[in-house]
């Protein structure tokens, strides 16, 4: 048997979990780019270092986003990945596919690229891994012909994403799929033509379980919530108890606000104390239903560590009704982006700008009232700013 070119990667073919090396080898059989990608990766495994250079500016006509330029630093060894650019393809909201759409995507990519993909990348896009500069425009044209478009990259609005929401989930307080799709279609220009100080991410989760991690991973987080009483079906509660769920221990004792009581017979909820964490509903979905008035909490500022440290999004609108065409929501997004665009420094995310200038300044600029839901606690230091009009100017 011939000696393998990739002895280190070969060791990752075995084992029970599906192997990405098998996928690379499958693509390498018919595509020289995929083969050189695999051989370059083997070199990285040997040398413990990456072999990609910074991307140059490459793209398709009329767009400034959607293509990530990538070049090998060893084109002498791997000429077929000398240029190996990524195309980010905006996924159908909720990552729902019919197979004919997926097959079209595969055909386009076999024609123009390496035959390797990520389903999906971190922003949610379908990632087409690796093509040459001269294929970018024709690949984009064929993608358009198949009904697909590119997603965001660089200092643009990144491809918005949403949880499965009303597509499958009984806990959806908002139509996360429709909100996300509507925002995506309304803001195509902001996705394709980077014009901001830095990236801007929007993610939509339909309940506080936050299945798309909007609070951690987006500058603008939309999280479904409700007002009003959780309705209780006592018969179903009893059925859960009979099936072995320890309602006192597993439900009431773990309720963060201790707003529930269970006497072995009847479950009571003091809704005014409830902070809508979802724990009891997660455990007894047949018995408990969220309050009838549905809407969303809007939070902003979430991001990963670079530059000033990681932030979790914080509340700016405790409750907003979300019904098509979502004008109030989109108007708020535009006001926030305008302010950030005006005052943000290069590569300063929205959350960092607010940290630098203060919530007080932000709230006044975008026209939102300060409410106690915005903070865990009021400030403890006495370094308080006042507005000029709050000060008596002439001392009598």
């Amino acid at each position: 048997m011939a000696k393998s070119d990739t002895p280190l990667l070969d060791e990752l073919e075995g084992g029970k979990w599906p192997s990405f090396v098998k996928d690379m080898k499958q693509a390498a059989e018919k595509n020289p780019m995929a083969k050189d990608l695999m051989n370059q990766l083997e070199l990285s495994y040997k040398e413990k270092i990456g072999h990609w250079k910074h991307g140059g500016i490459v793209g398709v006509k009329g767009y400034g986003a959607g293509v990530i330029g990538r070049y090998s630093d060893r084109p002498d060894l791997f000429p077929n990945v000398q240029a190996f650019h990524t195309m980010r393809v905006n996924h159908p909201t909720g990552w729902f596919y019919k197979t004919d759409a997926l097959r079209n995507l595969c055909d386009v990519w076999d024609k123009h690229g390496s035959g390797l993909t990520n389903l999906h990348g971190s922003t949610g896009d379908a990632i087409l891994l690796g093509t040459t500069t001269d294929h970018l425009q024709s690949c984009f044209d064929d993608l358009s012909g198949a009904g697909f478009d590119l997603g965001g990259s660089g200092s643009a609005l990144r491809t918005p994403s949403a949880c499965v929401g009303p597509g499958r989930c009984e806990w959806a307080c908002i139509d996360s799929l429709d909100v996300c799709y509507n925002i995506t279609m309304s803001f195509q220009d902001k996705i394709h033509r980077p014009m901001f100080p830095y990236k801007f991410k929007i993610k939509v989760s339909a309940c506080p379980n936050d299945c798309v991690a909007s609070i951690a991973r987006s500058d603008f987080s939309v999280i479904g919530t409700w007002k009003g009483k959780i309705s209780i079906d006592q018969k179903e509660v009893a059925a859960y108890a009979a099936s072995g769920l320890d309602i006192q221990k597993e439900v009431c004792d773990l309720c963060p606000t201790k707003c529930m009581t269970w006497n072995g017979d009847e479950l009571k909820i003091y809704d005014a104390d409830c902070n809508r964490c979802m724990h009891c509903i997660n455990l007894m979905t047949k018995a408990l239903r969220q309050g009838k008035e549905k809407g969303a909490t809007i939070l902003i500022g979430g991001k990963a560590p670079i530059v000033e440290g990681a932030l979790l999004s914080w509340v700016i609108v405790p409750f907003m009704k979300l019904e098509p065409p979502y004008e109030e929501l989109k108007d708020l997004i535009l006001r926030i982006q305008d302010w950030w665009d005006e005052y943000g420094k290069s590569r300063e995310r929205l959350g960092e700008l607010i940290k630098r200038l203060g919530m007080r300044v932000f709230l006044r600029a975008v026209g939102l009232p300060a409410v106690p839901q915005m903070v865990k606690a009021p400030r403890t230091n006495p370094y308080v700013f006042f507005w000029p009009e709050e000060i008596q100017k002439e001392v009598k």
Binding site: G50, N90, C106, L119, G130, P166, H279, I306
Partner: protein
Amino acid sequence: MATDIGPPDYKTMLPPVIQRNYGKWRYHEILKPGVLLHVAESGEALYTVRAGSPRLLSTDHIREICDIAEKYCEGYLRFTSRNNIEFLLDNKESIEPLLAELDGRNYPVGGTGHSISNIVHTQGWVHCHTPATDASGPVKALMDEIYDYFVTMKLPAHIRIALACCLNMCGAVHCSDIAILGIHRTVPKPDNSRVPNLCEIPSTVASCPTGAIRGDMKNKTVTVNEDKCMYCGNCYTVCPAMPIADPDNDGISIWVGGKVSNARSAPTFSKLAIPFLPNNPPRWPEVVDAVKNIIEVYASHARKHERVGEWIERVGWERFFNLTGIPFTDKHIDDFTMATETFRSSTLFKWG
């Protein structure tokens, strides 16, 4: 050719049973690991079979997934935010044959309930220019070892694991039960012959979170203060002429106790458990062993429904280090901007 057409309308991708019951779901059950039943108010049922994937997929592999979806679910499927494949069926009779086919083709079925779902991860050496480690490799090596937790639901609560190959965290791992994070440990080296042509000095200086970079206007380059640099690599993102990768010193750190959901406790960041483990391709044994140890200690000590971070908060970090045998070092004590908030300003601690 028209541009800005946006993604295909998701409504055209929904199976008929979802179109009929959109927004009118009543409840769901996990029938067994990897198999979900959702029942609508109409009484109609939707079955979901969830299978793991390596995320990095060849077009032929995608076509195979399409073949399976066409055979058992009229071509309707979706992907989850953790890169799992979900086959969507309205016919209960198709579940067992689908499971048998998936089993025959070695697709793991699971990732539901109190399990470890697929690991969210970044590109690593496969396609990124700033990585401190690979992504697909450590994920594959780890999932092989913890496979059993994917196909069962025997943990106290679910564990979300994520891997990012550098501090840019395009995988945003910072709120995971267990985060695996590639780190550099040596300062970037400005290449004075290339900096003047490739880099903008003011933006390179501004890119440093600790003010370690100074402009050298005379030579049109920058200098790095080694005492202030904590190797985040942000300057390299801005200025390609100051490479930071170092095969002998790059590696992996492990973080624990983060969560995103609001259930019970507030969303929270992961905290440092292990500052450094070496890059040892192809199977990263030190990383795999360390993560497995944390999972096993958690599994044997946490109460039902307690996430990793909730368990640690209850027993205390001093006990976490004691139980896991992970050494506590000066690196665990924060020294960035908000450090003092994490210092213990009380006498309320345990002996371990």
